[in-house]
C-alpha cells in the first residue's frame, strides 16, 4: 500500500474525539500505512481533538470548512471525504461503523464506484486485503476479500479498543474547502426536534421496566414510571397494553414493537406471549413479576416474584429510596 489510510473522525459530545472514531483510528493502524484523519467542521473544533488524534497516530488532520457544511449533509460530507482521499491518493478510507459512518462511506463508495465492507471486526493487509465483518445483526461473521482502490471499510463498534499508537505523532491541521454542488446539499439536517416523550430511549436503555395487561389501566403505569425513574430505566409495555390504548405503540416491546437488549428487563404483569418474548429475548437478565405462577414468562425468567405488581413494585421503589437515603 502506497498512499495513507484516511479515517473520517467526529467530535464527541464533550468536544473531545468521539469514542468510535478513536476505535476506527486504532483499527486503521493495522493497515500499516501513514494515518490521516478527515473532519468536517470549523478548525476551532479540531483544536481540542489534536492531542488525542496525535496519540492515536494521526500525522495530518484535514478539516473541511465550508459555509454550507455546518449541519450534517451526507452527500456533501461524503464529497469532502472522497475529495481528500483523491487528493492524497489514499490507499484506504475508513469510518466508524456507526449509522453516520456507514451512511457516509456508502456515499463515498457510490461516488468512487468502489466496494464497501461495512462493520469489519478485523483486517489483514494484503493484495487483496482480507476482512472479517459482522452480518445479520451479529449472528454471522463473514470473511471477505475486498477488491477495490481505495479500500473502503467501516469498523464495527468495540471491535478494537481506542489504544494509543506505539509511535505518537504531532497531528498537523490542514484546512480545505471541498467543491460542493447544489445537489450535494439537498439532503441535510434542517432542524432538530427533541423526542416528545423524553426520558430514556427504549431501544438503547440498560434497564427496562415493562407492564402488561396485569397493570390494569393507563394510570396503573405510575408505579412502573416511578421505579423506572429511580433506576434510570425506560418504560415499556406489551401488545395488550398498546391495543387497549394505555400506552403509545412506541412503548411496545415485542415482535411488532421494539426489540430490546437491556442489561435487565423487569416484566410486570406480563404473561409472556411469544409475540412479546420475541422482543425481549435479547435481555441479559429477566425479572418477572406476575401473580400467576403458571404464567409462561417464568419459563424464561432469571428472577421471579409471584405476586401483584401493584404491591411488589412500590415495595421495590421504597427499598431503593431507603437504601439511597432519599
Amino acid at each position: 500500500m502506497s498512499g495513507p489510510a484516511l479515517v473520517f473522525v467526529e467530535q464527541g459530545p464533550d468536544g473531545a474525539l468521539d469514542e468510535l472514531s478513536g476505535q476506527a483510528l486504532a483499527f486503521a493502524r493495522r493497515l500499516e500505512s501513514p494515518l490521516h484523519a478527515v473532519l468536517v467542521g470549523p478548525v476551532a473544533a479540531a483544536e481540542p481533538m489534536r492531542p488525542d488524534l496525535g496519540a492515536l497516530g494521526v500525522s495530518t488532520v484535514h478539516v473541511a470548512g465550508h459555509p454550507s457544511l455546518g449541519a450534517f449533509a451526507p452527500a456533501a460530507w461524503a464529497q469532502a471525504i472522497a475529495e481528500t482521499a483523491a487528493r492524497l491518493s489514499a490507499a484506504a478510507v475508513l469510518a466508524a461503523g456507526s449509522e453516520r459512518g456507514n451512511e457516509l462511506l456508502a456515499h463515498v463508495a457510490a461516488r468512487t464506484e468502489q466496494p464497501l465492507a461495512a462493520n469489519c471486526v478485523s483486517v489483514t493487509p494484503g493484495d487483496p486485503p482480507e476482512v472479517t465483518r459482522v452480518r445479520w445483526g451479529g449472528s454471522l461473521l463473514e470473511q471477505a476479500r475486498v477488491h477495490g482502490s481505495p479500500l473502503l471499510l467501516t469498523v464495527a463498534a468495540h471491535a478494537v479498543a481506542a489504544e494509543p499508537a506505539p509511535a505518537p505523532q504531532e497531528a498537523e491541521i490542514e484546512t480545505f474547502a471541498p467543491e460542493l454542488s447544489e445537489a450535494d446539499l439537498l439532503v441535510r439536517i434542517s432542524e432538530r426536534v427533541p423526542a416528545a416523550a423524553g426520558g430514556v430511549s427504549l431501544a438503547a436503555a440498560d434497564v427496562v421496566v415493562s407492564g402488561g395487561r396485569g397493570v390494569g389501566s393507563a394510570e396503573g403505569f405510575s408505579v412502573l414510571e416511578e421505579l423506572a425513574e429511580l433506576l434510570g430505566a425506560a418504560v415499556g409495555c406489551s401488545r395488550a397494553v398498546t391495543s387497549a390504548g394505555w400506552r403509545p405503540h412506541t412503548d411496545q416491546v415485542g415482535q411488532t414493537g421494539t426489540k430490546i437488549a437491556p442489561e435487565i428487563y423487569i416484566a410486570c404483569g406480563i404473561s409472556g406471549a411469544t409475540q412479546h418474548m420475541a422482543g425481549c429475548k435479547g435481555a441479559k437478565k429477566l425479572l418477572a413479576i406476575n401473580p400467576d405462577g403458571e404464567a409462561s414468562i417464568f419459563a424464561s425468567a432469571d428472577y421471579a416474584v409471584i405476586g401483584d405488581l401493584h404491591q411488589v413494585v412500590p415495595a421495590i421503589s421504597a427499598e431503593l429510596r431507603k437504601a439511597r437515603g432519599t
Partner: protein
C-alpha cells in the same frame, strides 16, 4: 325503418363499448384458468342458473332469482315483440302460439314485478348498509327499466287479447287476460297496442345501450367470471414467475402496481361487480371499523381500469383500449394510492369471507395480494411493525426469530422420532409448524397431537430443526420472493426424505403444503390433524370416553373451513368430547380470529376482530371455545383476556387427549 334505426343506434353503442371492454380484459396479464371443465359446468349450473350464493340469503336471493329466472323465460318474448313491431299479425313460429308459454310468461312477468317491487322496498325502506357507496341512482334506473319492459309486455299482451289478435289461447294467460278487460277493443286499443309494443322494444334497446356503461354489466360478464373462477384449491395463490426461462423480463410481474399489471381475470372481476355488498357484510375488517370494504376495493379498481383504458385509447393506444403496438405516451398511475388507499390493502386478513359471499365469483384476495406484492417487492412499502417478522422468517426460518435448534424441544420428553437425513420415511410426517413449535400456548396442541398419534400407534416423525416456516406469512404479506425460497427449500427437504403423507395441525401450513407446494414440485397427501384424529376415532384406534355434557362451541379457522372445506372432522372431535353448540357465523361463513394474511404480526386499527369473535362465542353460553389452528388459539385467548369472558380456548386435539387419557384404559 324506425325499428332498424333504433336497433342500429343501440347496437352500435353496445358493440363499440363492448369492444372497448373486451379489449381491456384481453390486455390483462396472463393467468391460467383452463381445464377442469366438469367443475366449471357445475359452477355455472349451481352458482349462475341455481343462484346458489344469492339464495344463501333467502329474501334478497329470491328477489334476484325471480328477476333472473324471469328474464331467462321471457327472453323469447324479445324476438316476438320485434316481430310484432314489424307485423302486427305475425309471431314466432310455434312458440308464439303455445298457451303454456303464454302462461309461463304471465307467471314470470309477475314474479319479475314482485322482485322489482321488493328490491325497491329493500333499497328505499330497509336501506341495508351493504349498499353504502354503491351507485344507488343507477340501480333505481335499472329497476325502473326492468319494470317498464315487463309492464309494457303485459299491457301489449292485454291489448292483443282485447283486439282478438293473440296467437295463443287467451285463457292460458290469466294476468294479461284480466288486464285486457280494461281495453275496449276499439280504435284506441289499436293505437295503444302499437304504443305498448314500441315502448317495450325501445326500453329493451335503451337497456342494451346503457348496459355496458352501467354496473348492470354483470348480466353479461358474471357467467364468464363464474366459469373462469377457481374450482378447486381455493386457498392457493397464483405464483409469480421470477426466473422462468421463456419469460421476458418485460412480462415479469411483481404483483399489481398499475391497472396494466392486473390479470385478465382480475379485470373481468371488476367488470362483474354489481355492487351488492354481500362481500362487505361478510368482511371482518369492515365489521370492525377498518378502512377496507371489499366492494369498494373492486369498484375502485374498476374505476381505475376504465379511466386508464380511456386515457390509453385517447393517447393513441392499441385497438379497443388495449396497450397494443405503440401504446402512445400514456403511462397509467399507481393503483395505490390511486384506486385504493394503503390502509385498505393492509387491512385484509385474507379470510376469504368476501370471496365465499360473492355471487359472481370475484376473487378479492388475489387483488389484495397482488397489490401487496407490488408494495412490498417494488416499493418496499408495508407496515413497519411487520418488518421484524419478514426479517426473522428470512434469517431464522420462523417468524419470531427463535433458534431453529429449539424447534423440536417440545418433542424430546415425548420421545417423538426426529427424522434425520437418510432415515426411512415414516408413514406420516407430522409438520408441526412454527407456532406449535415455539409458542407457549400453541405448543400444547403439538404435544396433544403427538400423544394421540402415539396412542393410536401411528408411524410418524417430525423434521425437527430441518422444518422451516412454509413461507405463508411472507407470501400473504406480499413477499413472494421469500415465500418461494422457502417453498423450494422445504420441498427439497420433504422430497429428499421420501415423504408421501403429511399431517399438519396449522391450517396455514396445511393450506400451503396441500395447495401451493404442488406449484414447486411438492406433491403429498396432506391432511389436517383434525381429519386424521377423527379418522382414528372412527376406526376405533383412539377410544375417547363417552361424550360429556359440557357445552363446547367450535370456531372454524378460515383456512380450514372456507379455503379447504374441512368442517366436519373438527366437529366430530368436539362431539366425541362434549355437547356442541354452534355460533351463528360458522362453517364456511365463519368469522376470522384476526390473524390471517400475516395480521398475526401486524397492529390492528379500529376495534379488535378477536374480541368481536370472542363475544359471539361467549354468547352461546359454552364454557369452552374449541379451535383447530394455533393462530386462532393465540388470538382468541388474547381476546378472552381482553373481554374478560369465562371461556377456555383450546385446540380439538387437546380436548381429545384429555378425554382419551382421562378414560380408564
Amino acid at each position: 325503418m324506425a325499428l332498424a334505426a333504433a336497433l342500429a343506434i343501440s347496437g352500435t353503442i353496445f358493440v363499440r363499448r363492448s369492444r372497448f371492454l373486451v379489449g381491456l380484459v384481453r390486455a390483462g396479464a396472463p393467468v391460467d384458468r383452463s381445464g377442469e371443465v366438469p367443475e366449471r359446468v357445475q359452477a355455472e349450473a349451481t352458482i349462475v342458473l341455481g343462484q346458489r350464493k344469492l339464495l344463501e340469503r333467502i329474501g334478497p336471493g329470491l328477489i334476484h332469482a325471480f328477476i333472473f329466472w324471469g328474464f331467462l323465460v321471457l327472453a323469447p318474448t324479445i324476438l316476438i315483440a320485434f316481430i310484432g313491431v314489424l307485423d302486427k299479425h305475425s309471431t314466432l313460429p310455434w312458440l308464439g302460439h303455445q298457451g303454456w308459454f303464454a302462461f309461463l310468461v304471465d307467471v314470470f312477468a309477475l314474479l319479475v314485478l314482485v322482485g322489482v317491487l321488493a328490491a325497491l322496498w329493500v333499497r328505499k325502506v330497509q336501506r341495508p348498509q351493504r349498499f353504502e357507496g354503491s351507485h344507488r341512482g343507477e340501480a333505481d334506473l335499472i329497476l325502473g327499466l326492468i319494470a317498464t319492459i315487463v309492464i309494457s309486455l303485459l299491457l301489449w299482451h292485454a291489448t292483443r287479447i282485447a283486439l282478438g289478435r293473440s296467437e295463443w289461447p287467451a285463457s292460458w294467460s290469466p294476468l294479461s287476460h284480466a288486464l285486457s278487460h280494461v281495453f275496449s277493443g276499439g280504435g284506441a286499443t289499436k293505437v295503444l297496442e302499437r304504443v305498448f309494443v314500441w315502448v317495450h322494444v325501445l326500453a329493451i334497446l335503451a337497456f342494451l345501450a346503457y348496459l355496458p356503461y352501467s354496473k348492470h354489466l354483470h348480466i353479461v360478464t358474471a357467467a364468464f367470471n363464474v366459469w373462469f373462477g377457481r374450482t378447486r384449491a381455493r386457498g392457493r395463490l397464483e405464483p409469480l414467475r421470477f426466473d422462468d426461462e421463456g419469460v421476458d423480463e418485460e412480462d415479469m410481474r411483481f404483483g399489481a402496481g398499475t391497472s396494466a399489471d392486473l390479470t385478465w381475470k382480475q379485470v373481468l372481476d371488476t367488470f362483474s361487480c354489481t355492487e351488492c355488498g354481500r362481500c362487505q357484510d361478510a368482511c371482518p375488517a369492515f365489521a370492525t371499523g377498518k378502512a377496507l370494504s371489499p366492494k369498494l376495493l373492486i369498484m375502485g379498481l374498476r374505476d381505475q381500469v376504465f379511466a386508464d383504458g380511456a386515457a390509453r385509447a385517447g393517447a393513441g393506444g392499441g385497438p379497443d383500449g388495449g396497450p397494443g403496438e405503440g401504446s402512445g405516451s400514456f403511462e397509467p398511475g399507481p393503483l395505490v394510492p390511486g384506486a385504493v388507499t394503503d390502509e385498505v390493502v393492509w387491512d385484509c386478513v385474507t379470510c376469504g369471507a368476501c370471496v365465499e359471499a360473492c355471487p359472481v365469483s370475484i376473487e378479492h384476495i388475489d387483488h389484495i395480494v397482488d397489490l401487496r406484492r407490488h408494495l412490498v417487492m417494488v416499493e418496499s412499502s408495508f407496515p413497519a411493525e411487520a418488518e421484524p417478522m419478514l426479517r426473522d422468517v428470512e434469517r431464522a426460518s420462523n417468524p419470531w426469530g427463535n433458534p431453529q435448534s429449539e424447534r423440536a424441544d417440545w418433542a424430546a420428553q415425548l420421545g417423538v422420532r426426529v427424522l434425520e437425513p437418510g432415515d426411512p420415511a415414516p408413514e406420516v410426517l407430522y409438520w408441526v409448524g412454527c407456532a406449535s413449535s415455539f409458542d407457549e400456548r400453541a405448543r400444547t396442541t403439538a404435544e396433544s397431537t403427538a400423544k394421540l398419534l402415539q396412542a393410536a400407534g401411528v408411524d410418524f416423525a417430525i423434521l425437527g430443526a430441518r422444518e422451516s416456516c412454509t413461507g405463508d406469512p411472507a407470501r400473504r404479506m406480499g413477499n413472494e420472493y421469500v415465500f418461494q425460497a422457502f417453498a423450494e427449500h422445504n420441498v427439497e427437504t420433504l422430497n429428499d426424505a421420501g415423504v408421501t403423507k403429511i399431517v399438519a395441525n396449522c391450517p396455514h401450513c396445511f393450506n400451503t403444503l396441500a395447495n401451493e407446494y404442488p406449484d414447486f414440485g411438492g406433491r403429498y397427501e396432506v391432511v389436517h390433524h383434525s381429519e386424521l384424529l377423527a379418522q382414528l376415532v372412527s376406526e376405533g384406534r383412539l377410544k375417547p370416553g363417552p361424550a360429556g355434557e359440557q357445552a363446547i362451541t367450535y370456531h372454524d379457522s378460515c383456512y380450514l373451513a372456507r379455503h379447504n372445506d374441512v368442517r366436519a372432522s373438527p366437529r366430530e372431535l368436539v362431539a366425541a368430547v362434549g355437547t356442541p353448540v354452534e355460533m351463528e357465523r360458522s362453517g364456511k361463513r365463519t368469522f376470522c380470529c384476526g390473524a390471517g394474511g400475516a395480521h398475526m404480526w401486524m397492529e390492528e386499527r379500529g376495534s379488535a376482530i378477536n374480541e368481536n369473535r370472542v363475544r359471539e362465542a361467549a354468547a352461546t353460553g359454552a364454557g369452552t371455545l374449541a379451535v383447530a389452528c394455533p393462530f386462532c388459539t393465540v388470538m382468541l385467548d388474547d381476546g378472552v383476556q381482553s373481554t374478560g369472558d369465562e371461556l377456555r380456548v383450546v385446540d380439538v386435539a387437546t380436548l381429545l387427549v384429555e378425554h382419551v387419557e382421562g378414560r380408564p384404559q
